[in-house]
């Protein structure tokens, strides 16, 4: 039984540079990290294995060859195996093509028990890959999971965090869950794990080893078109006023007049 964790390598910075022509992020010279939400997914995968004494934690990522580094971090934390889905043909994929490729890879891997994703990636922030993955696989999905209450061979009961409170949801397995930061505290890797990770070589799957329909992968399989991309304008510090409400209201009204807003 495979506990499959899907992760993404993202640039480690809050102010990423963008290429406005191509509508993509400039990745050169920026350190890459495992998407922070995915660390919670890895941790939960390890915990499921520890609490049940069952399963094999398999971490999967689609990306360029250097994404192996992200798998290595998961191995250092204690994951059993890492698969890198990498091929030029997969490049340029949007969330739909990515989730399709991941779904086909999970089918190739076989015997999934549960599939865990972080709730979203911090570069794209779409939160789409998890739900799309479930759709391709025709598995149930539970998003924004904040606690696994119980997990058996073929049933899972979880708590999910929503805008209005918590839902308690039960599902059959296999299913896809996406997790938020409430679910756990990712562990610090151990030295022995780090040493194992140093030697780790990912199993690489390309478009010939995964059975895919070429129409659904890479740029061709991606209906999303980025129309334009820009950094939000930097907010200026603003001004603070102190005083009585009436006086402040007058002051603000005057300011707005000066700025010709009113």
């Amino acid at each position: 039984m495979n506990i499959v964790v899907c992760i993404k390598q993202v640039p480690d910075t809050q102010d990423v540079q963008m290429d406005p022509e191509r509508g993509t992020l400039i990745r050169e010279g920026v350190k890459s990290i495992v998407n922070p939400f995915d660390l919670y997914a890895i941790e939960e995968g390890l915990r499921i294995k520890e609490r049940t004494g069952k399963g094999r934690v398999v971490v999967m990522t689609m990306g360029p060859p250097q994404a192996e580094e992200a798998l290595r971090e998961a191995i250092a934390m204690g994951a059993d195996h890492g698969i890198l889905i990498s091929d030029r043909a997969f490049a340029g994929a949007d969330t739909l093509a990515t989730s399709y490729t991941l779904a086909k890879s999970i089918e190739k891997l076989g015997s999934p028990w549960i599939i865990i994703c972080g709730k979203q990636a911090m570069d794209g922030d779409t939160a789409q890959v998890g739900p799309e993955l479930a759709t391709w696989l025709n598995f149930p999905q539970i998003t924004y999971v904040s606690r696994i209450i119980d997990i058996g061979d073929d049933r899972i009961k979880v708590e999910r965090l929503t805008d209005y409170g918590y839902d308690i949801v039960e599902s059959s397995l296999p299913c896809v869950i996406t997790v938020n930061k409430e679910i756990n505290e990712p562990r610090i890797p151990s030295l022995r794990g780090m040493m194992k990770a140093k030697k780790f070589k990912a199993e690489v799957w390309d478009s010939s080893s995964v059975e895919v329909d070429q129409r659904y992968i890479g740029l061709d399989g991606s209906p999303t078109r980025v129309v334009s991309i820009f950094a939000p304008p930097v907010k200026k510090g603003g001004e603070k006023y102190h005083g009585e409400p009436e006086e402040l209201a007058r002051h603000i009204a005057r300011k707005l007049e000066e700025m010709k807003i009113i």
Binding site: R187, I188, L191, M194, M195
Partner: protein, 382 residues
């Protein structure tokens, strides 16, 4: 940046300890400093990340890293909090007698326990035996296949929290220091209890406590080495552990420099950041020079020990003394650069000053260190 040519493993240890410091220690250090609780949650993280294995030989479930590995880990942890780091460093201090002088059975029994995260303590100091360690009064009298311990140890790091204690006691008082022996005593042994827990100026996350032995029967097989070797064991242990105190001081000094430089760039007086003033710049430059010199010497001595250089008492004393003096000066300067804010608990530098002070005192005062250095030096020069 100076390249100290760390091995891949050493680099890994350094990165891991830094990660623990930044992710686990930074958010909790104020709490532990305030409450003086023992930081068990962080000790657990250290254990789970294999940090306790680094100074344990491989055949006893360790990673066999030695003193250099220990130095790197303690330095990084102490950059986070010297008090929390001491749970770890104090364990190494207590474990060295077993690594260096334990027989096969003792090593097999205790070292794997330490490797997996059991806290250890070393007990030499008594009320009337500080620098004058030869003046200890705790007795160990042989009775069949046991030794019976009586006496009180004072200011014992990790006291009460550790599961394993290495205790120096007199088996033959007439012989003075040559009549001392070292014993492994486990927590929970009948007749072994804990007294006063000290309320300290600094390293408040560390437990410093009295150990009380009242007709405490310790199995004879727990004697380390032979009877009469107690002081040799203690002195040799300090040769190995003093670079650890130096490392703690390096971590404190590093934190002081980082805090002071960051603050100097932000703090505006007379219309400019105070980092623009030469008076501040020169303080920072002095701090940086001295820290790097102390670090270079500490690493070199640690590597010497790992290479099997046994005549290292003078050099171990040097790094402990030098690095702790550097840390004290750096912490003082950091508070000065912060000015009034530096005196306030809301800012991190007053704690660095409080924590730095102990490194000039414990594991031999810096006066005793200078005695060791000078006496060896005078012997060497014909």
């Amino acid at each position: 940046m100076i390249d100290y040519f760390l091995t891949e493993e050493e680099q890994m240890i350094k990165e891991l300890a830094r990660k623990i410091a930044e992710e686990k220690i930074f958010p909790k250090r104020e709490y532990y400093d305030e409450t003086q609780e023992f930081p068990w949650d962080i000790v657990k993280v250290m254990a789970e990340s294999d940090l306790f294995r680094i100074f344990i030989p491989e055949e006893y479930e360790g990673l066999g890293g030695g003193v250099m590995a220990l130095t790197l880990a303690v330095e990084e942890l102490s950059r986070g909090c010297a008090g929390i780091a001491l749970a770890f460093a104090g364990t190494a201090l207590g474990t060295f007698p077993i690594i260096l002088f334990g027989n096969e059975e003792q090593k097999k029994k205790y070292l794997p326990r330490v490797a997996s995260g059991e806290v250890v303590a070393f007990a030499l100091t008594e009320a009337d035996a500080g620098s004058d360690a030869g003046n200890i009064k705790t007795r160990a009298i042989k009775d069949g296949d046991h030794y019976v311990l009586n006496g009180t140890k004072q200011f014992i790091t990790n006291g009460g929290e550790a599961g394993i204690y290495v205790v120096i006691a007199l088996t033959n008082p007439e012989k003075g220091a040559r009549g001392a022996s070292a014993f492994i005593v486990e927590k929970g042994t009948p007749g072994f209890s804990f007294g006063k827990k000290e309320n300290k100026l600094g390293i408040r996350a560390s437990a410093t406590r009295e150990l009380i032995f009242q007709d405490c029967r310790v199995p004879a097989e727990n004697l380390l080495g032979r009877e009469g070797m107690g002081f040799i064991i203690a002195m040799k242990t300090f040769d190995y552990s003093r670079p650890g105190v130096a490392a703690q001081a390096l971590g404190i000094a590093q934190a002081a420099i980082e805090e002071a430089a960051r603050y100097a760039k932000q703090r505006v007086q007379f219309g400019v950041p105070i980092a623009n003033f030469q008076a501040i710049q020169h303080m920072l430059a002095d701090m940086a020079m001295k820290l790097e010199a102390a670090r270079a010497l500490t690493y070199q001595v640690a590597r010497n020990i790992d290479k099997g250089n046994t005549k290292i008492s003078k050099e171990s004393a040097m790094v402990k003394c030098l690095a702790s003096d550097v840390a004290m000066e750096a912490a003082l300067n950091a508070v000065q650069i912060f000015g009034g804010y530096g005196y306030m608990k809301e800012y991190p530098v007053e704690k660095l000053l409080r924590d730095a002070k102990i490194t000039q005192i414990y594991e031999g005062t810096n006066q005793i260190m200078r005695n060791i250095i000078a006496s060896q030096l005078l012997k060497e020069v014909k």
